[in-house]
């Protein structure tokens, strides 16, 4: 992590002026110590003060004891990308303290336990030592809670040093514990004590300040996985089958948490079934069975699960069964880094399954889109009778993001071309027949019936083997090719219907940036910075595969295209080269797969390098 921050930021560090609402905290603790509660409390409190804020958790693949870091960025300008540098570090983990401190910029701040008696070897930073043990000892706290509550000490100190009102902390704590008075009180008393201790004992020496703003009014804070779960519940999901895997587990956990939204008030029974399968093959198998039988069915998984789902993905594609698969991507290959973010499953998921298979993939770029694609994915899957993959990632999925309140679905539920008994009767009356895979509308999408349809001609035979348009087994070349051509028609049709990219385009600009997913905040920030330096860029944010036609235009209309992505091989750049019918030599891949969310700094440095300025 030897990268430095954007120039303007680092310049700020050199001067002695007051820095207000534009810096980052990092809290270094141990995994499983309960520091998440403290960190979220700070984030929520800042948010309640109207200050744009973003929290990112960098945690190990471990349950208890290994180092974990939480960074909180406050940005008066509303930037939410990861910054490569933090100004204030709360070092509550002795294992990493040396390294955490060494990385502070001059003028930086270190808050640490007094009882360590740490040698303060840097004279260019400010140390605040706080008596953690003594503060907690004052209270009668059950042993198993003590470690977690100790972390409230830094909350109190931070609140005092940076002028976060105690009431706001109290409210934030109350939110955290859903208003349960006992835990709120247990934690709050420690915050309060630390706050007062700091008031009495610490002299504010640093230049960082928090001041209330009004920039978060009407906004919410939520993780992408929670947003996706809500989207699915408002999208009418009826069957979810899953197998636990980081970082997708919290998506299904959120479905369980919000399942009450789908509870029949009269009977108290649910309109959604959530089943923990024995593995990912079974999970996707269950939703393929459910999707076939008429449920809106989904699963959520990550890399290893995607690999295991390959065979079923191909079956669902070829037998034309609607399912929704969330891939909350983590770092691969293989088991890789289960708690690090990545956008490295693009090529593999796009072509998941042997033979000539390819899938619709949606790529949300914000928690709002996690919600939106949460419901829209079902409409697309049922409209096109095909699997829809949603490629989110750990950063988007598991971190807390500020967002506009979600918009209630703008379109009615679309179940696609399903013939129920009456519709089937009408259909047959009109056309004299109904064949499952006949392309009646020349859009590649044929009509399906659901099992249980009470009509003697409703049944058809579903299979992963070759079939003619009557759903009868066939090994004839012509039947095979005809069916594949229909599938291609369908896919080409989907190309026009999937979420279009978000394009910011001005003719005349020579540089086009292409990115997607959780990189968006970093790209947005870097564009502002470049523009400030006179380097104007256009920007296209992809939201789906296959590529929509306007992507071609965007690529071909620029002299230089930078494809910014969070993986090692530059997979999206590869897809662009593969699909765009034209000279694509001006595409340059800016790919970094180091497990961390993209920083504006890295993009900036690379673009500047290539632009030679």
């Amino acid at each position: 992590m030897g990268v430095i921050d954007l120039p303007a930021e680092s310049q700020m560090q050199q001067t002695g002026e007051r820095i207000v609402n534009d810096f980052s905290f990092m809290v270094a603790t141990k995994n499983g110590s309960g520091s998440q509660t403290s960190n979220s409390t700070i984030v929520r409190a800042l948010f309640k003060m109207g200050i744009p804020v973003n929290g990112k958790n960098l945690f190990p693949s471990n349950i208890k004891g290994l180092p974990t870091w939480y960074t909180i960025r406050v940005s008066k300008d509303g930037y939410t990308a990861r910054r490569s540098r933090v100004e204030i570090v709360v070092t509550f983990n002795e294992m990493t303290a040396a390294e955490d401190i060494v990385n502070l910029p001059p003028g930086g701040v270190c808050i640490l336990p007094q009882e360590w008696n740490w040698t303060k070897s840097r004279s260019d930073i400010i140390y605040y030592e706080v008596p953690v043990k003594d503060t907690v000892r004052q209270f009668d706290i059950p042993t198993e809670r003590r470690e977690q509550v100790s972390n409230m000490v830094y909350v109190g100190v931070v609140a005092k040093l940076y002028d976060i009102p105690l009431e706001t902390i109290h409210q934030a704590l109350s939110d955290q514990f859903n208003g349960k008075p006992k835990p709120v009180q247990m934690n709050y008393q420690v915050v309060e004590a630390a706050y007062h201790w700091a008031a009495d004992n610490l002299q504010k020496l640093d230049r960082f300040h928090i001041e209330p703003m009004d920039k978060t009014k009407g906004k919410i804070i939520i993780t992408g996985n929670e947003a996706a779960a809500l989207g699915a519940l408002f999208g009418g999901v009826t069957v979810t089958a899953w197998y636990p895997i980081t970082p997708s587990t919290s998506l299904v956990d959120a479905m369980l948490d919000y399942k009450h939204l789908r509870r029949d008030p009269v009977t108290g029974k649910d309109t959604v079934a959530i089943v923990q399968a024995e593995d990912e093959i079974a999970a996707i198998g269950m939703i393929v069975g459910a999707g076939w039988a008429g449920a809106r069915a989904m699963t959520a998984t990550s890399g290893p699960g995607i690999s295991l789902m390959s065979e079923f993905a191909g079956l669902a594609y070829f037998a034309e069964i609607p399912i929704v698969v969330w891939d909350v991507t983590r770092m691969g290959p293989s088991t890789g880094l289960p708690t690090r973010t990545s956008q490295g499953d693009i090529l593999f998921t796009y072509f998941l399954g042997h033979g000539d298979t390819h899938h619709i993939c949606l790529i949300p770029g914000s928690v709002e889109e996690c919600f939106e694609f949460g419901w829209r994915a079902f409409d697309l899957a049922e409209q096109f009778q095909t699997p829809v993959f949603v490629l989110s990632d750990l950063d988007l999925g598991m971190n807390n993001w500020m967002a506009e309140p979600f918009q209630y679905p703008t379109e009615p539920i679309n179940r696609g071309k399903v013939l129920d008994k009456e519709a089937l009767e009408r259909f047959i009356a009109e056309k004299g027949e109904w064949y499952r895979y006949r392309d009646y509308d020349q859009d590649g999408i044929s009509y399906r019936t659901l099992p249980g349809t009470d009509h003697p001609r409703a049944a058809y035979f579903t299979r992963g083997t070759g079939h003619n348009d009557q759903a009868i087994y066939s090994e004839r070349s012509t039947d095979w090719v005809q069916n594949m051509e229909r599938l291609r028609r369908k896919f080409e049709n989907a190309r026009k219907v999937v979420p279009q990219p978000v394009v910011d385009y001005d003719a005349g600009k020579q540089i086009g940036l292409i990115s997607f997913g959780s990189n968006d905040p970093a790209v947005q920030e870097v564009r502002d910075r470049l523009a400030a330096e006179g380097i104007e860029t256009n920007y296209l944010r992809l939201r789906a595969l296959p590529l929509t036609p306007n992507v071609h235009d965007f690529v071909l209309n620029h002299e230089r295209i930078y494809v910014i992505e969070n993986n090692f091989d530059g997979q999206m750049a590869q897809v662009l080269r593969m699909e765009i019918p034209g000279d694509t030599r001006h595409i340059r891949s800016l790919a970094l797969g180091d497990g961390l969310p993209m920083t504006p700094r890295w993009i900036y440095d690379n673009i500047k390098r290539y632009e030679g300025k």
Binding site: V239, V288, P405
Partner: protein, 356 residues
């Protein structure tokens, strides 16, 4: 589903036996699997099964092809190798009113599919799960499957040196509540078991020895017709008796817990969840299928002595099915419409409010 003797040429639904057929079989002439398809057709016709409400599910293999050859008016899903249990789980979750009939092979269930098979039973997915067990991989031309007995020889692949997996034993240990073994050459028993299995609530497993005439029908193979015909030991004759047709007195005539022996011709009456009874008229060794310990001991003996015992091996008062444990609404999930699927705007707004 009540048993009903058909009068003339149509059943209670006014359908002929012909109406219960599927496409013409493309299996080898004489394949055991075809005769099982025929029994399914007969039973469906006999009990007046509503085909539109049936789903036929299978994996991959000669056996798994058979759903194309029966109940032509039922939806079917010929899925991928070994994974039919998960398809069945999902489909019955989506619509619990469907009657699910699964057909699998010994390779499909015992090799690649063993894990899914076991977990399906643990969840008690309501379905009839038929294994057409021939001890070989038919469709890939005669390799040993995991149910081939130790010591068995095949022309091309030589001698099997691994012990056989007993799929009934696996089913019982796995939590299935209805476990039977039969022989495709014993049509009457296959039909009786199918009727009982269709009446069961929960996973009903029927492991049917079904000779592969092309690759494993050598008389010294214990999956061959000749061997089966000569060595089958039926435990009992089986009959399904509709609710109310059995006098209370008879029901308690035998105490399953005492496991005492009973005379040939004596009966055991197994009461099912809906008051239907399975009447088991003893013709072979003592066995009360209501005792798990007895069933396991019996199969242990069967394994040691390579016996070919057929009949209802284990029956358990059904525990809750997967559907029961999930507490979902009574309307099949697949049939839910707009409003039930999407909470109102107010619900979202309220939630958003709480997150501000």
């Amino acid at each position: 589903m009540a048993t009903n003797k058909t009068v003339g040429k149509t059943n209670t639904l006014g359908l002929t036996r012909e109406d219960y057929k599927g496409n013409k079989s493309t299996l080898c002439p004489g394949c055991g699997h075809d005769s099982i398809s025929n029994q399914i057709i007969s039973v469906a016709y006999d009990v007046g099964l509503k085909q539109e409400n049936v789903i036929k599910l299978s994996g991959i293999g000669c056996s798994s092809k058979t759903p194309a050859y029966f109940l032509g008016r039922s939806h079917a899903f010929n899925a991928i190798h070994g994974r039919m249990p998960s398809i069945a789980t999902g489909a019955t979750l989506a619509n619990h009113e469907l009657t699910a009939i699964g057909v699998s092979g010994d390779g499909d269930t015992g090799s690649i599919g063993l894990g899914q098979f076991k977990h399906m039973m643990r969840r008690n997915v309501p379905m009839v799960y038929i294994i057409e067990n021939n001890g070989v991989y038919g469709l890939t031309k005669g390799q040993f499957s995991a149910t081939a007995d130790a010591g068995q020889e095949l022309k091309y692949y030589g001698k099997n040196e691994y012990p056989a997996i007993d799929l009934c034993m696996e089913a019982i240990v796995g939590g299935a509540t209805f476990v039977a073994r039969s022989f495709s050459g014993h049509a009457e028993q296959v039909r009786a078991l199918l009727k009982a299995a269709l009446a069961h609530r929960g996973t009903a497993v029927i492991d049917i020895i079904s000779p592969c005439v092309t690759f494993n029908n050598n008389p010294n193979s214990n999956k061959s017709y000749d061997y089966g015909k000569a060595n089958e030991i039926p435990l009992h004759e089986i009959e399904l008796i509709p609710e109310g047709f059995v006098p209370e007195r008879e029901e308690i005539s035998i105490d399953p817990d005492k496991m005492e022996s009973y005379e040939a011709g004596q009966e055991i009456l197994v009461r099912m969840h809906d008051g239907t009874f399975i009447r088991l008229q003893k013709v072979g060794p003592d066995h009360d299928p209501r005792s798990k310990a007895q069933a396991l001991a019996l199969l242990e003996k069967v394994g040691m002595e390579q016996l070919f015992l057929t009949g209802l091996i284990y029956y358990e008062e059904p525990r809750p099915t997967l559907l029961d444990t999930l507490h979902v609404v009574d309307t099949p999930l697949a049939r839910l419409q707009g409003d039930t699927l999407r909470p109102p705007k107010e619900a979202l707004d309220k939630l958003m409010q709480s997150m501000m």
